[in-house]
Symmetry: D2
Subunit: 346 residues, 4 copies
């Protein structure tokens, strides 16, 4: 039985971790940390856990929170993880950080986008970018996982086969992404109010969203060259779900079936990637509450333009589900343990 | 041309007033007050006014805000209006207060529910409860209008014909109300976040909502006896709209058509009340963006039980539209001026 | 391993059954029936089952659909089950009918509300009304379960302790219910279109909804006297969820805690009933995707009026989850098997 | 007073026309046509018109429907307008066709995309594509207006300044569009059900949407060369609103302010185009219920890539409002008459 603690358990990704782990047959949750609800019953903060999770929230800094834990999930806003993670690693805990602090390999790039100092090169050396479909072997050996952002997860999975096989013009990559609101978390912002989001659609995050450098870092690694993308996030009036429509140019002629086969081959052994058949395109509802990334493909032979559409649940494969997938890998469990969910429909 | 200023113009009811008045051919807006956006262009705060309203927001306390005004609308949270209103009345302004401070005739009841001191008896003496369908004659002579709350508007209009004609058991009145989220305003609360409200339905405000004493005061006046009601507000995952389902017992046998005729007669000359024909029941969308209150009736002869359903737009007939209706009356304009709107559908 | 077939698997309650059973460790799905999608892969009809359910839809009438089955779920519109169920019982299948046909004990009442002939007295004699919290012992011995409607489930569970203990005035019961749209199923109606439902709230089903006689039958049984209720269903702009606000009068004085204790005692051993503590009231999201019924209580001592609020997921505890709970009971499995779900939040 | 009739008044765009015209001070509605509601009161079909519009629906084919009309709006599904329009023109009516039949200049292209025969070259010769910002002079002289589609309206307005000034690489135009559901009309389709659309986001219309040739025709005209675009429509879980994110490559270096100034200059005298200042990007709610097209610009100098975002209300500027704008022009009225609306917010 793996013992797991969660630092920052009362945010949206934190409580999603609790939900997944509470139903994971090989895991016992031993500590739930919080900033705002210290001493309260977790089921009072989130009453859908009543009669199911009986733990009391502890202070995120309380050492007893992690004392018994084999694995610690850290679900904090950016800029808060570095010191905590260092301490945990010294205690020989396995750490999965759901925040942004350890994702970027360059401290300079981190500082440019996040406006604060992140970890230094030495601290970063321990971290593995936790996208299992791309970095599984490295993840297996890691003690510190930098769990990917939701936008990068959709973008990288949509482009990985094409970049690996050098099929596309890398100067011409456009990622038009659409996200549900839960990605903004539970913090209080006017822009997250129901009355502002309902019946509205907008782009946001110009001139650059913080997930852009993360996307570019990973695509560049896959391509073996520096890649800069055009990336526009949009806000959809729904709670969960993320869909990216990725446009690029093919170096040579392919038809739709060729591309689909290349994707199916690339992801052949991946339990959570579903490459859809010709004529089927993903809907966020099909993956809601699951760890799936569904991918649909449309190749416009007339213009040699390729459109790849990928959809995930931003809180699941885009955050907490992927974190548990990483936990399964680093703990030697079946990678799909606790993650065999079917989307609730309608 | 009536000159109007709005204190508290940057809240939801404030900006709704701006919208209605900007399209009102007999009104010129001369001042927009704010607490948080002093010095900003109103159209920058609410960009849907771009190219239409060109005023700069002034401090709510700035005397120049109201200097030119004939009428001043006060749209502030409860507890903040008393001093401001007193000053305005001394300047011979007509005042329409959209907050709760002048609605309750009893300072003790006010303090019990709002936990702060409200206006005293002398200050209250000037105020008329601004539900034109009930108090039109008093409104005509008033300089200070206490604009009704949204829940009371639905409840009183659903019950007025029955209480006036003493048709029902006054001990048995249940008001089951459902409101869109915009009634909670633009202030930041976890319970107003999109991710919390979307796909959810709940009752709230137990054991008693602040609109209960307002409802009871006005129903008691209509009935000529003390009335206590059972009142449960609920939150609907939509932005605008309010519907109350009112249950009561008839003193003697009526059939459905009798009751509908009594309602139609009672509201015969009311431009904003639509009593629906047998078999038709209101939908909030039919009144969205309008000053209408739609009323549907179902009489269960088997049990002598009557169900009356009333629907309004909580920000329009439930707040800013009713305020303009009151302004029209006290300024001697056609009561419907600027209010002849048709709901946007779908 | 229990073998289960579903007749009518491609409606909303049908596919919800598939989802629950596909994750139920003691069940194997052996047949999926349909009217409209014969010969199609179930995962093509509902792509969220891709890679999970690999069955082909068969004609609802195809005998091979149920050949191997120990248990057959029938999820058909009313009026279609009687002949099918009779045949299945002769084949010694256990049958759980999710439709309305076997719920009412009186053929006359059935015909009055459903306008067609239902089963006769002899056929009805086999059927047990499948609300386990009330009829568990009878269910254990049954071969034919009439699975309750969603509205009745909320109403009966909210009132059972009060009627059993004869605490309330049975002439004074008002059930104000609010439902998500999925209850209307996947059939094509103007009133179910997104553009009609979104941002709208309305009552419907006047002068009487078909669930009223079902509610009255079961409440009368509990009370030992004939009960007539006032019942108003409303439509909420959300997909899943149902909440009933039930108003009644107490025969003698109680305070809030008394009533809560009586409810907690009544439902002490029930795995799926959560009686909420004082001051907490149910939200449909807390039970979404689960078999829970959450119940909150407010006692107005001033007027001896009691408000009980119950919330369920209309497709889960209100249909398919309850059907699986019944299956567990009649098959001798742990009653909670396959049903230990946590609501997805937010 | 202009007399207007509407053929197809009971669809969503039809009733939106009724709403706008009923509030237009220079117009009298003299006939409302329908296919499904002949003989019914229009206010019974759409009860939000109760007490406002008192006409009875007539058969779309009834000659008396248009007898008195100066202008006839035709709001029918594609393929049904040609004969009707020909007859109306012979009766010397001015005709505004909101359908697709007269938009494409090439009968072959029409047939390829719509699978039926459209008007022939002679019939097409009379029609002017009714986008006033581009074709105002031709519209003034026309008797037959082909009112643009909603997607083309957003795409053309976002690209017109750039193509006119030959600033962009015409081979590299990507139009990623997002639409509310009302664009699909009131016809019954599974994909338009609330339970299917709510909480979901998807692309649709692959491999080519019927609006693509319309976009390409108009962009080619503006550019003076054949243009092929990449166009992906998506469905947003909201009723109204459309936003297009248009990506293209600049031929030479510009900064953001340059581009904004070019757009502001191009649309200087346009009453319904609002080019937003730097750092502000459109939201569909800002234009909901209005005839505005709001445009925001982001120029990525690093890569010489330009992102233009345009937003409209699909039923207003994307259909019925634009139709009234065209009517105003061909009837010699002030172009903005009846169209000075402010978006309802929130």
């Amino acid at each position: 039985m793996i013992k797991a603690s969660i630092i920052g358990a009362t945010g949206y990704t934190g409580q999603e971790l609790v939900r997944i782990l509470a139903q994971h047959s090989a895991v016992e949750i031993v500590g739930l940390g919080t900033q705002n609800y210290v001493g309260e019953s977790f089921a009072a903060v989130y009453p859908h856990f009543r009669n199911i999770v009986n733990l009391i929230c502890q202070d995120n800094e309380n050492p007893r929170l992690v004392e018994q834990a084999d694995v610690v999930f850290v679900a904090l806003p950016h800029g808060l993880s570095v010191g905590i993670v260092e301490k945990l690693l010294k205690q020989n805990k396995k750490v999965i950080d759901l925040g942004a602090d350890f994702r970027l390999k360059s401290p300079e790039v981190y500082k440019k986008w996040y406006k604060v100092d992140g970890p230094d090169q030495e601290q970063l050396a321990n971290a593995v970018y936790g996208l299992p479909e791309i970095h599984r072997e490295a993840i297996k050996k890691a003690n510190l996982i930098a769990n990917p952002g939701c936008y990068p997860t959709t973008a990288i999975l949509a482009l990985a086969p094409l970049l690996t096989d050098k099929m596309i013009e890398t100067a011409d990559i456009i990622i038009d992404s659409k996200s549900g609101v839960s990605g903004a978390g539970r913090s209080l912002k006017t822009g997250s109010l129901f009355a502002e989001v309902d019946s509205d659609f907008k782009a946001y995050g110009f001139p650059g969203h913080r997930h852009a450098p993360e996307i570019e870092q990973e695509l560049s690694l896959l391509a073996g060259e520096e890649i800069e993308v055009t990336f526009t996030p949009h806000l959809v009036p729904m709670t969960r779900g993320m869909l990216s429509t990725v446009y690029t140019s093919l170096k040579k002629k392919y038809n739709n079936n060729d591309i689909i086969e290349i994707f199916q081959e690339f992801y052949r052994d991946e339990p959570f990637i579903r490459v859809l058949p010709p004529g089927t395109y993903p809907q966020t509802k099909w993956v809601s509450g699951t760890n799936f990334c569904d991918i649909g493909i449309n190749c416009d032979q007339r213009k040699n333009k390729l459109t790849v559409i990928s959809a995930i649940d931003n809180l699941f494969k885009g955050a907490s589900g992927q974190a548990v997938q990483n936990m399964n890998i680093i703990c030697g469990l079946d990678e799909t343990a606790g993650l065999n969910k079917i989307a609730i429909y309608p």
